[in-house]
Every structure is written in structure tokens, then in C-alpha cells.
């Protein structure tokens, strides 16, 4: 659905993008990840027809963005990283206004606005002025605004920035719901845990260059050797932990075992059967309280690729 090839962009002497390329199949959620200033916003602005690349091509739905921006605008819903709202307009009027801007027929506008308010869970705030909404509500309303013309593709630039944890979860659920509706979604962030559970495809950008892109599992496997499992014990003490470590260490498929607080972290090869290890531990009398894959692999992948962490969740 989205194809980006050898995109270059300079601003004066500063190189913003150098040969950026990636592709996103229809119906996927693509996490566009990189630190601030890496080139995420510039790439998204090019896709949103707001900037022209110096070289390279970007197509959406097979339509070249630079050559036919009008057709591309029909396909995309764009949510910028920073956006404002109009004073003295209600949520309903706000959506009706943008529906009119996108050419939605007058008789359909009210119904479209109602549907979108319901989707973003703001029906009870329909008659409230937009500037009285909380930041999270404004973000959701802005996402609703990006949907007024029912686009196939959504370009969401840092949609969860500045949101509290609850609002982040709501935004994440909303994006999942949009995928279920068949949208192809590009969502950028510099906060990895935010995207880790959400995305099916991923692209890492750093200093204007793509350092990795593809399906989430492929990128993870390519960058990280193996996966990690976390095993927590009931009433852990040093003796129990060492006994459990001895039980696991040296087993086929286990790369390494590390003692961590309350338990162990086990690095395993791809294809390792987690359940076999659990059965063996239980049979050996190890009191296991929890047994789960370690999340945060994406953060580690990013660190390995770039040599620096992304920003923590604030």
C-alpha cells in the first residue's frame, strides 16, 4: 500500500533523509521508530503531500505522492505531531467542518460526525467546545478528524505524545480498532514500548537513514540472536535460584542464564520450546511463580542497531 524508495531530503546544509526506503502492505500497522530528529516527521510530511523529496519516490496505493498529490489526499488521513484546534467550535462542528473540507456531501456530514464521535468515544462531548477537551480527548478527536473521508491509509505522527498512560492505552485500542476496519496505518513514535504491542511491521530510522525495516518478527530475529524468557520463583532465595539455574543451564537451545531479582532470565535460541522448559522445572520441584517471554525486545533491537536507547515512557 505504501512504497518508499531512496527518499532524499535536505534542508539547507542539513541532510534530513538519506536513501530512505521501506514498504507497508495493506492492512498492517507499521511502527516508524527513531529518536527525535531522525527523519520520521519529514518522511511522513512527504507521504502526506506537504513536502517534496529532493530525490526518490513515494507511492501510496500505487499513486506517486509528488506527481498526483490530489489523488493521494483522497487516500490518506493525516494526524500531525503538533496540531491545534479551533476555538469556539464544538466537537460536532469541528468534525462537520473537516468533513466539508474533504468534500463530504452536506446531508452526510452530521451522520459522519456522529459515527466518528462514537468511534473515538466522545459522543457525550459532542456539544462541548473543542478547546475545553483534555489533551487525550483532543488527540482522539484529531484522529477522528483524520477519518472524516474514510481514508484507506492513516499517517499518524506521534499520536500518543504527551498523553497520560490511560489515554495512551485508549489511543492504542483505537488504532487496533482501525486496523480491524481494514486501514493501513503508519504510526511514528520515539517511545518503543508504546509501539511494541501494537505494530505488525516496523521500521527503524536513525539520522535520516533506515537501519531496519520489515515484519516485526523478522526484524526482531534479524537483530537479536534468540529470545529471552523470564522465570520468577516463589519465595526466591539464593539457594533456590542457583538450583534452578543449574537445572536450566547447559540445556539444549539455552544460550545463557542470568540471575535477576526474584528469578532468572534465560536467553534461548529461535525454535526453542518454552513449554518443555517449564514442564522440566516443575517436575524438578522448582516453585515457579511466573514464566513468560521478556517484552522490550524491540528496545534492545533498536539499541543494538543504533548504539543508543530511545526515550523512556514519560
Amino acid at each position: 500500500m505504501i512504497e518508499v524508495e531512496a527518499l532524499h531530503k535536505r534542508f539547507g546544509s542539513q541532510v534530513a533523509l538519506q536513501a530512505v526506503d521501506f514498504s507497508i502492505p495493506a492492512g498492517e500497522i507499521f511502527g516508524f521508530i527513531g529518536p527525535n530528529g531522525a527523519g520520521k516527521t519529514t518522511t511522513i510530511r512527504i507521504l502526506a503531500t506537504l513536502a517534496l523529496p529532493d530525490a526518490g519516490t513515494a507511492t501510496i496505493g500505487g499513486i506517486p505522492v509528488a506527481q498526483d498529490p490530489h489523488a493521494v489526499r483522497e487516500l490518506i488521513g493525516y494526524m500531525p505531531d503538533f496540531f491545534g484546534v479551533y476555538d469556539r467550535l464544538t466537537s460536532m462542528e469541528y468534525l462537520e467542518f473537516y468533513a466539508a473540507c474533504h468534500g463530504v456531501p452536506r446531508r452526510r456530514r452530521r451522520a459522519v460526525a456522529h459515527e466518528l464521535l462514537e468511534l473515538v468515544d466522545l459522543t457525550d462531548r459532542a456539544d462541548d467546545q473543542v478547546d475545553t477537551l483534555s489533551r487525550g480527548m483532543k488527540q482522539r478527536l484529531c484522529l477522528g478528524r483524520a477519518l472524516v473521508h474514510d481514508p484507506q491509509v492513516l499517517l499518524l505522527d506521534e499520536p500518543a505524545s504527551g498523553l497520560d498512560p490511560r489515554a495512551r492505552i485508549e489511543m492504542r485500542e483505537l488504532i487496533r480498532e482501525l486496523r480491524r476496519m481494514g486501514k493501513t496505518i503508519l504510526v511514528s513514535s520515539h517511545i518503543l514500548p508504546e509501539l511494541e504491542e501494537l505494530c505488525t511491521w516496523v521500521g527503524f530510522i536513525d539520522a535520516g537513514r533506515m537501519v531496519a525495516s520489515g515484519p516485526m518478527s523478522d526484524v526482531r530475529n534479524q537483530v537479536l540472536t534468540g529470545r529471552r524468557l523470564r522465570v520468577e520463583l516463589v519465595d526466591p532465595d539464593e539457594v533456590k535460584l542457583l538450583a534452578a539455574r543449574d537445572q536450566i543451564d547447559g540445556r539444549r537451545g539455552v544460550i545463557s542464564v542470568q540471575l535477576v531479582e526474584d528469578g532468572l532470565e534465560v536467553a534461548v535460541e529461535e525454535g526453542f520450546k518454552d513449554q518443555d522448559l517449564l514442564i522440566e522445572l516443575v517436575r524438578a520441584g522448582v516453585a515457579v511463580r511466573s514464566f513468560a517471554p521478556v517484552t522490550g525486545d524491540l528496545s534492545e533491537a533498536f539499541m543494538r542497531l543504533t548504539g543508543r536507547p530511545t526515550e523512556p515512557v514519560t
Binding site: T42, A51, P80, E93, H102, A207, R209, L305
Partner: protein, 323 residues
């Protein structure tokens, strides 16, 4: 499509509705309207009372008083319009940028022309409301006599076209400047130059032209420099004070504009000052709209929102190519 449908479509622009609703819900709208009518009414009434005190009360005196009050109010309204129009239009596009709503407008189906047109009409609509609201004041003075209907209509028309032209130039400056403060300052500068600057410079040039043609028998009225000739204040003064007007051939106006020596040209149609004013204003409106559209289109392919910090790059691992 009928002409009526075309006209309706011309004004069926979401920005006109949105800006109109937003403006009329603001506390500023009734305040500006009250101030405008208050200043105009008070000014007219003061002149009226002053004239009553110093003049006789016969019937011809009433017409004379009516004429003077109407004229002073018309000039006052023209000045107020020149004062309000930049404030209403100079933030139209720069305000969208400052509010960070402009990019979202640009990715909508609205063309650059629709955006500029919608913003212009929205700004002018409020000015028209002010002018319409003041009509009863003028109508009351009109009853005294001393002003005929044609003069009444032309003064109102000049006021409207002046409002539209100042708003259009202010809108262009709003598209050209990133900040509303800068565009407002520039718009006031442009309005002052157009309303007062052209009058002063035009008058000085007219005096200079009089000196150059001193050896020939040329009427003073044939030496009014185009800058002064097309000035709204001058043309309104002619409309209200010279019953037969003060027309000049287009050729003579061009001759003076180009500082071409020789005997006064009589080529081209005769133009009344108010017609010249409206033609110049129409040209300014067209140029301003075209310029603003260019600037808005340019914005579609422009600017990073944040400076890009150079950071050392790392090598690429391409999983996508294998996927």
C-alpha cells in the same frame, strides 16, 4: 448550472462558515460592532449639534447640515474601515499556521484558491456587517437632504471596495509572513500607505506637475496625479463635493504615471476618480489573491516543523528485503 447556483457555490466554502461562527461567538464581535457604531454615531451627532449651534434653522440650512454631517460620517467610516480591515484579515492565514491547523487544511480537498477565497470572504463578511449596520445612521442623515441617492450609493460602494481591497492585501501579507504580529504590522503599513501615503505623495506630484505645465494652459484638474486621483479619500471627496465629477482621460492618467512630458493626452475613456479607485482596488484584490494562492501552494512543499539535528548514522540491517 445556473448563475444563482454558481453564486451559491462560490460562497459554499467551509472556511466562511467556520470563521463566521467562530468570530460571532467571540466576545470581540459585539464589542467591535458596538464600538464602530458608537464612534460613528457619536461623531455624526457631534458634528450635527455643532452645526445646529452655528447655523440658521431654515430649510436650505437643514440640507446643508445634512450634507456636511453625511460627508464627515462617510470619511469617518472610510477611516474606520481602513483601521479595522487589517486587524480582521492579517491573521487569517498566519493564525492558522500559529494555531497549527494549517497543515491539516492543506491535506484536505480544499484547493489553495478555496482556502484564500474562503479566508477573504470570511474577513470581508464581518466588515460588510459593520457597514450594513451603519446604514441606518447614514439613512437618517440622508433624510435631511443635501445628498442625492447616487452620492449615497457611491460612497457606500467606495467604502465596501476599500474594505475588500485592504482585506485582500492584508490576507496576502498574512500568507507571506509566518507570524500574525508581523503580518498585522505590515498590513497596517500597507493600509496607511494606500490611504494616506498615496494622497500625500500624489498631491506633491500633482503640484510638481503643475509647475512643469506652467507654460501651458492646462486646467488644475488635468494635473491630478493618478496616485491622488485614485485615492479613496480624494474620490469620495469629489463624489460628495463636485456635482458634475472631475473626470480625466485614461491616457492623461497613464501619461502622468509614466512621467511623460508633453501636452495633456486626451486618449482613452474618461474616468471619474471613484471609477479609477474601484478599478485600482479590483486590480489590487486580484493581485493579492493570486499572490496568496501562490504562497499557500508553496507551503504545500515546504518547511520542516522542527530543525533536524545531525547525528551520526549507523549501518542498515535490511529485514524488509528478505520478508
Amino acid at each position: 448550472m445556473t448563475y444563482v447556483e454558481r453564486l451559491v457555490r462560490l460562497f459554499d466554502n467551509p472556511l466562511i462558515v467556520k470563521d463566521g461562527v467562530s468570530r460571532m461567538r467571540s466576545w470581540r464581535a459585539p464589542l467591535v460592532l458596538t464600538l464602530y457604531l458608537g464612534v460613528l454615531g457619536l461623531f455624526g451627532y457631534s458634528v450635527f449639534v455643532a452645526l445646529i449651534v452655528i447655523s440658521s434653522s431654515d430649510r436650505s440650512g437643514a440640507a446643508q447640515i445634512g450634507g456636511i454631517v453625511f460627508e464627515t460620517m462617510a470619511f469617518m467610516q472610510l477611516s474606520l474601515v481602513a483601521l479595522f480591515a487589517p486587524a480582521l484579515a492579517a491573521g487569517a492565514i498566519s493564525g492558522e499556521r500559529e494555531r497549527q491547523t494549517f497543515d491539516v487544511l492543506l491535506v484536505s480537498r480544499l484547493s489553495a484558491l478555496s482556502i484564500v477565497w474562503g479566508k477573504l470572504v470570511a474577513s470581508v463578511a464581518f466588515m460588510l456587517l459593520l457597514i450594513l449596520a451603519a446604514l441606518p445612521l447614514f439613512a437618517a442623515v440622508f433624510l435631511f437632504g443635501g445628498i442625492d441617492f447616487e452620492q449615497f450609493v457611491i460612497t457606500q460602494l467606495l467604502t465596501v471596495t476599500t474594505a475588500v481591497s485592504i482585506a485582500a492585501v492584508s490576507l496576502f501579507l498574512s500568507a507571506a509572513f509566518g507570524r500574525t504580529l508581523s503580518s498585522t504590522v505590515a498590513a497596517y503599513g500597507a493600509a496607511f500607505a494606500g490611504m494616506v501615503g498615496t494622497l500625500i505623495v500624489g498631491a506633491l506630484l500633482s503640484v510638481g506637475l503643475l509647475g512643469r505645465t506652467a507654460g501651458q494652459t492646462v486646467a488644475v484638474s488635468a494635473n491630478i496625479h493618478p496616485l491622488e486621483f485614485a485615492n479613496p479619500f480624494y474620490s469620495m471627496w469629489i463624489v460628495l463635493n463636485i456635482p458634475n465629477g472631475a473626470p480625466m482621460p485614461l491616457g492623461r492618467l497613464m501619461q502622468m504615471l509614466a512621467f511623460m512630458p508633453g501636452s495633456p493626452s486626451s486618449l482613452g475613456p474618461m474616468l471619474e476618480p471613484w471609477v479609477a479607485t474601484i478599478l485600482v482596488q479590483a486590480g489590487l484584490v486580484a493581485l493579492s489573491i493570486a499572490g496568496a494562492v501562490q504562497l499557500v501552494q508553496h507551503r504545500r512543499a515546504y518547511v520542516p516543523t522542527r530543525p533536524v539535528e545531525p547525528i551520526p548514522a549507523v549501518e542498515r540491517v535490511d529485514a524488509g528485503s528478505e520478508a
